[in-house]
C-alpha cells in the first residue's frame, strides 16, 4: 500500500499553496499594522491590538462563522465581491486565503511589532540625519535590523496556517483540490477508519511542526534571546 495516495498528496500540495500565499499576504498586510502599533500614540492602539490578538483566544469556529456570514451572499463583503464580479468567496481557495489571513494575523503582527519596538526610534532618526527618507529607512535600516522578527513572523504564520482546521471547515468546507487541506484530510481518514493513512499525515505534521520550531529556536538569535529571558 502506498503510504500517501493521490488525494493525500493533493491535500499536501493545497496546504503548501495556501500557507505560502497567506504568509506572503500576512507580511504585506501585517507589517504596516505592526509598524503602526509600534509607533502610534493613538487611543485606537489598544482596540487594534485587541482585534489583532482575538484569533489567539477565539474558537476558530466563531471566527469562521462570522467570516462566513460577512462573505456570504447577504453579507457586506459577499455583496461587494459579487458586485465586482468575483463571485462568492466561501468554499473557494480565495475565501480560505482571506479567512486564514485573519486567523494567523497575530502570529505575524506580534513578532514584527516586537522587533520594530526593540529597534527604537534612534536608528530611524540617525537614518533621517543621513539623508534617508522614511521609505528608504524602512528597507535599509528597519528590515535588516528586524530580520529575526520577520523570520519568526514568517515561520509562525506559515506553520500556523498549515495547522488550522476549524476556520477551514467553516469557510472552505471539504472540496478536494480546492479547500481540502491536510488537517481536513486527516479528519476524513479518521472518519473512514483509515488509521494507517491518518498516521502518515498526522505523523508528518508532527515532524513538520517540530522541525519548524527547532529551526526557529536554533537559527534565530532573537527567538533564542527572548526564550532565555522569558
Amino acid at each position: 500500500m502506498p503510504f500517501l495516495d493521490a488525494q493525500d498528496w493533493a491535500a499536501v500540495w493545497l496546504t503548501l499553496q495556501l500557507a505560502t500565499t497567506v504568509t506572503i499576504l500576512l507580511l504585506i498586510v501585517g507589517t504596516p499594522i505592526a509598524w503602526w502599533l509600534a509607533h502610534t500614540r493613538s487611543r485606537l492602539r489598544g482596540i487594534v491590538s485587541a482585534l489583532v490578538a482575538m484569533p489567539l483566544v477565539l474558537p476558530p469556529t466563531v471566527l469562521g462563522f462570522y467570516l462566513l456570514l460577512l462573505m456570504g451572499p447577504n453579507g457586506p463583503i459577499g455583496q461587494l465581491t459579487q458586485a465586482l464580479g468575483i463571485g462568492l468567496l466561501p468554499f473557494s481557495f480565495g475565501g480560505l486565503v482571506i479567512a486564514s489571513t485573519f486567523y494567523s494575523m497575530p502570529f505575524v503582527v506580534q513578532p514584527v511589532q516586537n522587533a520594530i519596538e526593540a529597534i527604537g526610534p534612534r536608528p530611524l532618526e540617525v537614518a533621517a540625519t543621513l539623508r534617508a527618507s522614511p521609505w528608504d529607512t524602512f528597507w535599509t535600516v528597519v528590515v535588516p535590523l528586524a530580520r529575526p522578527g520577520f523570520l519568526t513572523a514568517a515561520i509562525l504564520g506559515f506553520a500556523h496556517t498549515v495547522g488550522e482546521f476549524g476556520v477551514v471547515l467553516m469557510i472552505g468546507g471539504n472540496i478536494p483540490g480546492v479547500t481540502r487541506v491536510i488537517s481536513v484530510q486527516i479528519f476524513d481518514r479518521v472518519e473512514a477508519m483509515e488509521y494507517a493513512q491518518a498516521h502518515w499525515l498526522a505523523g508528518g505534521m508532527v515532524a513538520f511542526s517540530f522541525t519548524v520550531l527547532l529551526l526557529l529556536y536554533t537559527l534565530n538569535p532573537q527567538a533564542r534571546r527572548s526564550r532565555a529571558h522569558g
Binding site: 533621517a128 540625519t129 539623508r131 534617508a132 535600516v141 535590523l145
Partner: protein, 362 residues
C-alpha cells in the same frame, strides 16, 4: 551680532511639564555651545534645528535658507536638511560595518564626496584602521569618532552634536576632545554643540548659549558669557573665565612657557608649543585672589592689575564674586565677604589679581 547671525531659531512648544520658548540668533561660523542642565531644553533646541523635533510654532533659517516657518506652513523634513548630527550615545547601525556606516550617508548626499575628502576625514578622526570592524567591536570612543566622521561625510552645511562625550568615561573623553578641537580648527561650517559640562564648553565654544527650563538666559561670546556674574554659571564650583592668549616665549631655565594676553602675561609649566600660537587659558574663580598692591613678595607670580567692575553674592553666604577687568579682559574671583569688607573693595577700585592656577587649553 544680529548682522552676522546666520542661524535664527525662534521656537515655542508646550511639552508636558515643560514649556520651550527660545529666540536665538547665532553666528554662522565657529562653535556655539548650548549649555544647561538636564531639562533646560538644550537638546530640544538642537532637535528642532535638525527637524527631529517639531515645535508647534517655529521659525528656523540657516544662512538665509528657511527650514521651518509655521506661519507659512513650511517644514523641511530632516532627511532633506544638509546637516550632520552626532547623537549622545553610540548610534552606528549595528547591521553594517564601519565602512558601510560611513558610506550610508555619503551615498545619499547629492553630488557625492570625492575620495580625497574621504581620506582627509578618515585621517582627521583617526579611524582608518577600523573600517572593516563591526560596531560592537569598537570602544565607545572609537564609535563616537566613526559617528562624527559619518556625519561629516554627508558634507553638511551645519554640524549638530548632542553631548557626544557624555556616554564616555573620563579617559575616553580625553581621547576624543583633541579630535573635536582639531575639528574646531578644520571646520568651515558652524557647529552647534550641546553639553552640560563646563569644561567642554570652555575648551570648544566660541559662542555660548545658556538655557534654563526651556528659556534662553544668555547668548554671548564665550569669554563674555563666562565673565557675567549675574548668570548661574558664575555660581558653579567650576566657574571661571576663558582668556584668549598667545604663546610669547619659553624660559628653559625655569621650565616655563610665557603667554601674552590683552591684560598682561601668564606663565605656565613648559609646553612644546610654537611661539605665536593662539591658545585658551581657563582661570577658575576660586583660583583668583585679590591684593591691593602688586609689590608684595609672593609665591603667586601670575598677577595683573585690574579694576573691580562689580561685586555679586555667591551661593555661599560667606563668599562674594568679584568681577575684574584687566585691560579689557574680564575675569572674576571668589573671595570671602569679610575680605571684600577689609580690603574695602568697590567698583572702579584698582587691585591686583593673583592667579594660583591656570589651565592651558590648546
Amino acid at each position: 551680532m544680529d548682522k552676522d547671525a546666520a542661524i535664527i531659531l525662534r521656537a515655542r512648544h508646550a511639552y508636558p511639564g515643560f514649556s520651550f520658548d527660545v529666540d536665538l540668533a547665532l553666528p554662522g561660523k565657529g562653535v556655539t555651545v548650548l549649555f544647561g542642565h538636564s531639562g533646560s531644553g538644550k537638546t530640544t533646541a538642537l532637535r528642532c534645528v535638525a527637524g527631529l523635533e517639531r515645535a508647534s510654532q517655529a521659525f528656523l533659517s540657516i544662512n538665509g535658507e528657511v527650514w521651518q516657518d509655521d506661519a507659512a506652513g513650511r517644514f523641511i523634513p530632516p532627511w532633506q536638511r544638509p546637516i550632520g548630527y552626532v547623537f549622545q550615545e553610540a548610534s552606528l547601525f549595528a547591521h553594517l560595518d564601519v565602512r558601510r556606516n560611513l558610506v550610508y550617508g555619503m551615498r545619499r548626499t547629492a553630488g557625492g564626496v570625492d575620495a580625497a575628502e574621504v581620506d582627509r576625514i578618515v585621517a582627521l578622526l583617526g579611524i582608518g584602521h577600523l573600517l572593516d570592524r563591526a560596531p560592537d567591536r569598537l570602544s565607545g570612543g572609537e564609535r563616537q569618532r566613526v559617528a562624527i566622521a559619518r556625519a561629516l561625510l554627508t558634507r553638511p552645511r551645519l554640524l549638530l552634536m548632542d553631548e557626544p562625550l557624555s556616554a564616555l568615561d573620563t579617559a575616553r573623553k580625553q581621547e576624543i576632545l583633541p579630535y573635536l578641537e582639531r575639528l574646531h580648527d578644520a571646520l568651515e561650517i558652524p557647529l552647534l554643540y550641546v553639553t552640560h559640562q563646563i569644561e567642554e564648553a570652555a575648551r570648544l565654544a566660541d559662542h555660548l548659549v545658556l538655557l534654563e527650563q526651556g528659556k534662553v538666559l544668555a547668548s554671548a561670546p564665550l569669554s563674555e558669557a563666562l565673565a557675567r556674574l549675574d548668570l548661574p554659571l558664575a555660581r558653579e564650583h567650576e566657574a571661571g573665565v576663558v582668556i584668549s592668549a598667545e604663546v610669547a616665549s619659553h624660559e628653559a631655565e625655569w621650565h616655563l612657557t610665557h603667554l601674552r594676553f590683552a591684560g598682561g602675561n601668564i606663565s605656565v609649566s613648559h609646553r612644546p608649543l610654537e611661539v605665536g600660537r593662539a591658545v585658551r587659558v581657563r582661570i577658575l574663580a576660586r583660583d583668583v585672589s585679590i591684593a591691593l598692591s602688586g609689590d608684595h613678595a609672593s609665591s603667586i607670580q601670575n598677577r595683573f592689575a585690574c579694576t573691580v567692575t562689580s561685586i555679586a553674592p555667591a551661593d555661599d553666604p560667606a563668599q562674594c564674586l568679584v568681577g575684574l577687568d584687566a585691560a579689557g579682559t574680564r575675569l572674576f574671583a571668589r573671595v570671602t565677604r569679610r575680605a571684600v569688607s577689609q580690603l574695602d573693595l568697590a567698583p572702579a577700585r584698582w587691585v591686583w589679581a593673583q592667579v594660583k592656577a591656570v589651565a592651558l587649553l590648546e
